[in-house]
């Protein structure tokens, strides 16, 4: 009995193998060749009365708390543009997908938006890991991503527009500020263990070497870690002039509590953070953060009519208690920039939109921003802010004018060898 069954299975296995070999025989292009089936560029669906765009944010998982605010800002911009007549006479139809704080899911959803829905552009992603995961999808399909978050630089995909700051618009001005305004001569680096903090700290170390600043310590905590007693003690013992903080999310709560528990204050050893915006201040508790420094391109308190109307519109739409922050502003701006590029190009096709991008400007809440066609980044103004006891962040220093984006830090001699 068992033997008969076994033979039947072997026969069957042979059939399966044969099938596989047959399917393998129908092979496609080798590497480096153009696929026989023609161009890979996915079609933008322009058949309907509306034009579809994708919103790709984590609506669940650890990143949801941050990324939902970006989704809200994107929807606000789309509603405003639609109320104003849309783009090239068409209403924008947003299709929202959940990246679920999971990088392969981001890749899958972006492919769905491009191939199934035929969106003209996708807005979203937050972490660098999610951007790295979707990058090949956008490049293979010849589609467009607008990425709204400050990041570690060293990237320049023809299929991505970076509307957040690169390192020379956030980290380097922050270091200039610490060195020139706060007379900092030694720094302690604290960060979450992922790509942005590690890359940022390599840049900071190179900067410190050039400018005679001593790096007295460098520590990483796993993402989401809440154990900071050891690190806070090391920070205290180091006697550094300031702390450069690249921690993300919840870890900041624990870090700042331990920091306060050791008796350190903003006066004795200020902490400059690059991942704490208005939204996070509320979560961490302003009492732990009062007097500390942040580096961004936009604060809710940034002066100007454009920001007043943005904050007003956002709070009318989502509630009086909702703060606005830098990534939200960059996301809001990105939709307007895309719309302006499309109007300039007179077309939704990716190649036309890219060709029209250089020099497009928008009076954003942070001030006028301009697209740099070469790098597909924005000219942005850098701002250092101080967190108040009420949770608001007020500007204490600004670069005055928009800084040219330099994602590979090519204009900084000391940064040679970093990339």
């Amino acid at each position: 009995m068992p033997r008969i069954r076994g033979q039947r299975h072997r026969l069957f296995a042979a059939a399966v193998t044969a099938l596989t070999v047959m399917s393998l025989a129908a092979c496609g292009a080798r590497t480096g060749e153009e696929p026989a089936s023609g161009s890979q560029a996915a079609e933008v669906d322009t058949s309907g009365d509306t034009i579809k765009v994708g919103l790709l944010n984590s609506l669940s998982g650890t990143m949801a708390i941050s990324e939902v605010t970006v989704r809200d800002a994107l929807l606000l911009a789309i509603e405003e543009i639609n109320a104003d007549g849309g783009v090239l006479g068409r209403q924008i139809e947003p299709i929202s997908e959940d990246g679920a704080s999971d990088w392969p899911t981001f890749a899958e959803k972006s492919e769905k938006l491009i191939q199934q829905d035929g969106v003209a552009a996708v807005f979203g992603c937050w972490t660098s890991a999610s951007r790295k995961a979707v990058l090949p999808v956008f490049e293979q399909n010849g589609s467009l991503l607008f990425y709204p978050v400050q990041y570690e630089g060293l990237e320049q995909s023809p299929n991505i527009f970076y509307t957040g700051a690169t390192t020379n618009q956030q980290i380097i001005p922050a270091l200039d500020y610490l060195r020139e305004e706060e007379d900092v001569e030694s720094l302690y680096l604290v960060g979450s263990d992922y790509v942005f903090p590690r890359t940022a700290n390599r840049i900071i170390t190179a900067y410190a070497e050039e400018h005679g600043i001593e790096i007295v310590g460098e520590d990483y905590a796993p993402l989401g870690s809440t154990e900071f007693a050891t690190i806070a003690t090391k920070v205290e013992d180091s006697g550094a002039d300031a702390v450069f903080n690249t921690l993300n999310g919840d870890s900041n709560v624990s870090f700042f509590r331990e920091y306060a528990a050791t008796g350190l204050t903003a006066e004795t050893m200020p902490v400059l953070s690059v991942s704490i915006a208005e939204e996070e201040v509320a979560g961490i508790g302003a009492e732990y953060l009062a007097g500390q420094l942040t580096a961004w391109n936009y604060y809710q308190t940034t002066e100007g009519a454009a920001n007043e109307s943005f904050v007003q519109a956002f709070q009318d739409r989502y509630g009086e208690d909702r703060p606005t922050s830098d990534p939200m502003e960059a996301a809001y701006t990105s939709v307007y920039l895309w719309a302006a590029m499309v109007e300039e190009a007179g077309s939704f096709e990716v190649e036309d939109v890219r060709a029209a991008a250089d020099g497009i400007t928008f009076d954003a809440p942070e001030g006028t921003v301009t697209v740099d066609g070469d790098t597909q980044h924005l000219f942005k103004t850098s701002r250092i802010g101080r967190i108040g006891a009420d949770g608001a962040i007020t500007e204490v220093w600004s670069s005055g004018e928009p800084i040219r984006p330099d994602p590979y830090l090519e204009t900084y001699p000391w940064a040679e060898g970093l990339s």
Partner: protein, 353 residues
Amino acid sequence: MTSTLTRWRAPAGYALGALLLFAVAPALLSDFRLGQLARYLCFAIVAVGIALAWGRGGMLTLGQGLFFGLGGYAMAMHLKLTDAGAGQLPDFMLLYGDTSELPWWWEPFRSPAVALAAVLVLPMGLAALIGYAVFRRRVRGAYFAILSQALAAAFAILLVGQQATTGGTNGLTNFQGFFGFSLLDPVNRRTVYFLIAAVLLLLMIGVRQLFLSRYGELLVAVRDSEERVRFLGYDPALVKLVAYVLSAGTAGIAGALFVPAVGIISPALIGIVPSIQFVIGAAIGGRASVAGAVIGAVAVAWAQTTLSEEFPAAWTYFQAGLFIAVVAFLPGGLVSLRRLLARRGPRVAEVPA
């Protein structure tokens, strides 16, 4: 009559499965959906191993992400090196690395033969080491599960920390070719799907044969009463070790196939959460049967995609509801639904939790 039916049921089921995977799915699904199915099938391959180690062997393998990751990284390293070309560094090392030299432990993966062997040897070798140490000492139950999970978590943290040589949290992405064939060509991506489907079917048949063999009987005996098996003169540690090593091997194969199918391998895919998800798929489908585990793994992954596309804001609640419903009303998994509906024939022995 009944015996003829039972005898033909399994081969007929596999024939139907092959028909669905090789003819129906490619004909009906778009390239994008077929790519998604390829991903689900990779999870199903892991589930085959879980059915063996957990369903039949009683070892709650909560750390399959470790072996999935080893297989995946072995394959991804080879693809990265091939993309970079001879003597060149992979792109991410140029960005994040400190040296201009390839780390010594990357070098062997240039060779396709070494990489393919590593896909099996690394996970199985590590499983053999862990298993030998653990089963000898008669560690089992929750302790074994916690240990497996801790190892998966440790591996993920190790990869994140070594950004310069492993890509850190970003993992390894952006593969251009797969053994000389361009992954940009939809024809080749289809071929990858067929490869995965074929591997899955072969592994299912193989593991099912193992269930029917003397070894399969022994494994169930060890699961149900390890002490008695020991008194009968067998070494339960060895019996469990074989199942554990084989399940690690299948997870390694799944990881290696996942890389060309999905185009990414990262620590997020091998830590605690994905490891639990592997097990959930098998539990939902029915862990004691190969088909059940495979159906469960595919169903859970498919439900996740569909629900999250339909209800991007609320899908996690639906998914949780689904899990609770199955665990509460179908402890034997989805495959027990058939028996519940039919209510005939002898009930198959319950699987202890």
